[in-house]
């Protein structure tokens, strides 16, 4: 037994089963597959992936809205253009890692919010790369 695998601990309920003892077997029985598991499709590095909840509006134009659930992979190396979580002077923030005039900065995706320039802050660290944002329409 894999005593510490995350995937193996997930409970999987098959859509159909072959326990019907009377009548004709379902013609679809052979085609039964497991449920779609979003973990499997969205997360390639489960051991370095974290979920966070967003409050605020500075990234609306990038599609990250207030109260969205974001998925962050800490194992990825951030590239310019990525949306990242950074720690700026002891606070988490989400911004787009951008480059302008050879200078790296963190770009807000909402004109009402300021960008962060690396040289204006004592301590900027990249915490992880945002890989998905999940928004509820209800």
């Amino acid at each position: 037994m894999d005593s510490f695998g995350l995937a193996s601990e997930r409970l999987k309920i098959p859509l159909l089963s072959d326990s019907i003892s009377a009548g004709f077997p379902s013609p679809a029985d052979d085609y039964t597959e497991e449920n779609i598991d979003l973990n499997e499709h969205l997360i390639s590095n489960p051991f370095s992936t974290f979920f966070l909840r967003v409050k605020g509006h500075s990234m609306v134009n990038a599609g990250i809205k207030d109260n969205d659930l974001i998925i962050v992979d800490k194992s990825l190396r951030a590239k310019t253009g990525n949306i990242i979580i950074a720690m700026v002077d002891g606070e988490f923030t989400i911004k787009r890692l951008s480059i302008k005039n050879n200078e790296l900065y963190l770009k807000a995706e909402n004109p009402n919010y300021p960008d962060f320039r690396f040289k204006n802050h004592i301590d900027i660290q990249i915490w992880g790369v945002v890989i998905y944002s999940i928004h509820s329409f209800l």
Binding site: S3, G5, L11, L52, S75, G90
Partner: protein
Amino acid sequence: MNISITEAIALIDANNFYASCEQSINPHLRNKPLVILSNNDGCIIARSPEARALKIKMGSPYFKEKERLNKLEVAVLSSNYSLYADMSKRLMNLLKNYCEEIEIYSIDEAFVSISRPNDKNLYPWAREIRTLTYQNLGITLTIGIAENKVRAKVANKLAKNIDYSAGIFDLARKEDENSYFKEISVDKIWGIGKQTSIWLKSKGIKNAQELIDMKENEIFKKLGIIGKRLQLELKGYKCLPVEKNNKSKREIQVSRSFSTPITKLEDLTQALAIYAVRASEKMRSQSLQTSAISVFARTSKYSSQNYQRIVHKKLINATDNTNVILKIVVALSKEIYNPEYKLSKAGVLMQDLTKCQYLQQSLITYKSQEDMKKSENLMRTIDSLNKKYNKKAITWAITKKTKEWTINRNLLSRTSTTDIRKIPTIVI
């Protein structure tokens, strides 16, 4: 038994693990002094390096330190074990990809085996693991490398003590190992307990080098084969293998300290019932069944009273059925109860665990197959409902009355990496 230069064993452990977990997911705690308290907010059980630098002592009772911690603006948190367990799981899985075999030794340390490359240099390997773990989990590791487990433990200690080691120390690559062994006091050697170190010191053996040089038969006479093995390992022979963890657990324990001591049988029974329900769930989640159950209770280590009692019960048929286990635990709770003592901790142990599919049916079964199937289905349904809705959607009535004795965790960090309602919030 051989001295191997191609096969190495490393002891990898996380520095200030609990504090690092908290600092990793909460930027406000970064680079700040932080201490973590034990269950019931009793003692300080972990400190961030910044708190360490303030000379805050490990293990000291919170009530004694409270004022000083306040004055020094040290952040104080109750232990958040679900966070630490999740981070530990992530850590061990990362390590698994970087070694041949791994033995998880505790929540934050593991022995791993690894072959040395042609140039015998494992520093690049160790540096990569350290960088990766820091980047992915925000956790800093110490890596001690040697020929065997006992020496790997020593190497780990040296990696921590020697400033220029940068968290990595390879004892097998040192020419002057004697000088290092002289620095290691015998009571710091893995496997030497308090009594043994007193005995060794009475014989004039104070450090690891003196233990290596001690007469073999003198050790053997006093400490038997265990002592002999320990000495051989210190000399560089390999006696203790890295034990793979895919063996199933030998026992499952659920125990807690109470915030206020228990004196009533009713309360003790209820506490044990809750632990029994939890232990049964744990067993089922690993497809295990128990054939021996123990329950225990004891007074506080710090009280003047001293009482502890453990009772066992062997089962004819292995079971994972909460109903069956509850009945036994409730009966046993009466046996360990003693009205004269204030009990501060109790627990249940599921022992002689076997995998469900290997289960041997005894010739006399008390329940018909039908009944067994039914109760098995019931347990499975309860587990899946609890998993789906929340931990205690369905439980047993005995666990439900008001309790005065539950764990006190006033300063619990709210954040979790496993419960979607408590994941970190990020203001943008």
